[in-house]
């Protein structure tokens, strides 16, 4: 049953706590949007590289490799894509100030474990320790340590955007310079594949659909059987 599955998952992440964390994440992003990069100080090129590495590592936790490919087996460049497009443009509304703030949060996410009882930086932790740290951050477990909001921002947006990218079939269905966005053969299974969605139509399917539906009959006007309108 779905309920059983959800209960099972609740052992990993409590829905209620998770949504509460979303509130805090949103609050901090709003603050970052106003305060800008000053919130975390100026970012160096090394900081940006670290932020990308942290983002990639988190995404590998979110979309693991099992009987389907996971983040680690997606195309080269997917981390840059997820970070710049889904975090920068979608989640943060294209605000460069908020994006810089998020990169700063990722850097902090990497450094914080040493002060929270872990042996090393996040990037140098083993897989089990990484997922324990990531889960604790996502559920607000470090709030009492004063890191809660910063870490939950990083963890939440990593999880959200990794899954958004996973579902978007990056980049196989996006021949963006092609007139018809032709479907390319793909060996990569994505979220849509698992859920059984066929993906956008290609030229041949479009042709068949046009033949079938292009002049499909319609019923003009609205439904006046609704007595309330």
């Amino acid at each position: 049953m779905l309920r059983d599955a959800l209960a099972e998952l609740d052992k990993v992440v409590s829905r209620r706590v998770f949504f509460d964390r979303i509130f805090k994440a949103g609050a901090l992003v709003a603050a970052l949007d106003v305060i800008g990069p000053e919130a975390f100080g100026a970012l160096t090129a090394a900081d940006k590289a670290t932020a990308l590495a942290v983002y990639s590592a988190c995404c590998k936790l979110v979309i693991p490799v099992d009987q389907d490919p996971g983040w680690a087996t997606f195309e080269p460049g997917i981390s840059e894509y997820g970070l710049n497009v889904f975090v920068g443009q979608v989640a943060l509304g294209g605000s460069p100030q908020a994006f810089d703030g998020f990169l700063g949060a990722l850097v902090a996410f990497n450094q914080a474990p040493r002060t929270l009882g872990y042996s090393d930086l996040f990037l140098k932790l083993g897989p089990d320790a990484q997922i324990q740290y990531f889960t604790t951050a996502l559920t607000g477990g470090f709030e009492a340590d004063g890191y809660g909001d910063v870490l939950v921002v990083a963890a939440f947006f990593c999880m959200f955007t990794a899954k958004a990218t996973f579902f978007s079939n990056y980049p196989r269905h996006l021949a963006q310079d092609s007139e018809f966005q032709v479907l390319q053969p793909s060996s990569v299974k994505t979220g849509w594949d698992i859920m059984g969605w066929k993906g956008p139509v290609g030229p041949e399917e479009e042709k068949a659909l046009r033949a079938k539906y292009y002049d499909a009959p319609v019923i003009p006007g609205i439904d006046f059987s609704n007595p309330w309108i």
Binding site: V12, I22, F23, G26, Q89, G191, G196, A216, I219, I222
Partner: protein, 537 residues
Amino acid sequence: MPDTYDVIICGAGAGGGYLAGEIAANGSVLLLDAGPHVGASEAMAPGVGSPSRRKFSTQINLGRYIPDSTTSGGRGNPFFAYPIYMDQSNPVFSAVQREPRVVGGGTFLNVGAWVRPRTVDFEGFAQETGVRGWSKQDFEPFFQQCEKTQFVHRTPRENWNPGSVAYEKAAAKLGIKMYETSTNKFHCIFCGHRLDAGMPCKYDSLMGTAQTQIPKAMAAGATVLDNATVLKVEITNKKATGVTYIRNGVTTTATARKLVVVAAGAIGTPAILYSSGVWDINKNVGQYLRAHPGIAMDALVPEVPGGGRWNTDRGYQWNCYHYPIDEKGQPVDVIIHASAGFPAATPWVAAQVGFFGQAYKDLMRRYPQRVGAFHFQLKPSIYGRVMGGVEKPVISYPVATVDGVLEPKILSDFTASIRTSAKIFKEMGAIDMYPNPNLSTALFNQTITQLVTTAGALHPQGTCRAGASRTNSVVDTNCMSHDIDNLMCCDASVIPHHISSNPNSMIMAIGARAGAFVRSSILNTPSKNLSSGEAVQ
């Protein structure tokens, strides 16, 4: 390019775009929009689309659109993203309110479902602000005109998606009356590509103003400037004289001989008026924000009649809707659209579920068959507010109290609607659903509160509302400012009171009505037969 026009319209969405098509043949018109005009130079063919629109429809789902040869900063972002504060118990939290920024506005992105307001809505207009001339009878010819120009129709049931068909049949068994949802599409091929409410149709089958009225305006000689962000309306001696806007880094002031129309939506319009100093004169600017809290309800229904998967056949459509009915036989203030399912509702819904890792992938494999319904609560008992100017408007829509309790009417109405949908899903064979009305009251209420406060304010309206007096409103019956001569508002902001549907149909009717007024009273040209709107060819 001239810098003086008879009419300048700020915003090319449902209101401004429709108005432009109505008046461009009667005077010189400048139509400004902050977003791109996708495929503007290419031949328009409704139901076919153009390469650049196809590119746009794909990229916009990824949150960006980058036109070729783009150099100006900020150009191409398809949405404004405003902070919106909804939970008074957590005053530092803001959700993100996304408003479309593209020529065509909300109609470019989101007009697959055409539902008219209820009769009670029109009665509410006069009760709320004393506005005259806003009765159902007054607007009827304009709705009919819009339904003709926008090719509004219903789809025969053989082309409904399986979710809508099954939901309607199950409702009928329970004695629940469903109504057919009209749509304004043209030559739809049911590609299933439009999976997100914020995603345009790449074949231009959605008949928004970008496909109908704006091309009509351009053919009549109107000038359309995309990527032009309006900074303020120029006002001299309480008279609107022009508009200052920035485009490609260059700030320009254009002069309006007869009229300035602000049609930037329920968030953008009060922001422009604030920056123009109108708020200093009339404190109702930005007040009285109304919106529709929304909840997506998902049900696990393993068996699809005839086989297959929910929502993947014949695309993502809301084919039918209903209202929950109370014990007195009256509709509860919620509209329920059938057939919005979890698998169909884009990456965004799935991505926001707070699970990840191995268990998350297992969940998708084990339970792929979900179908759903989308619930809009139509009349919350609260007002919100838009504050600040064009550089950074901030929205307050306090659906939760300082104690974190959801506004009682929203909660009670959603409780009724979810119970009604749950009965229908159970009749369809659902083995589980979310939100589940069988949860404990405390947990159910908490779930509803969480869903509402994280969703933003859907269908914002009423922030520069029409009324009988400047003491309770910003514009008059004809959408003309009470305080500033030659200034009109024409979008969702003028709606005096909640309406019980997606506001696109109402906004277009307002645009059509404003067009008749502008032609006859501003441009002093004969008003054409209102029922003779040209159908799409």
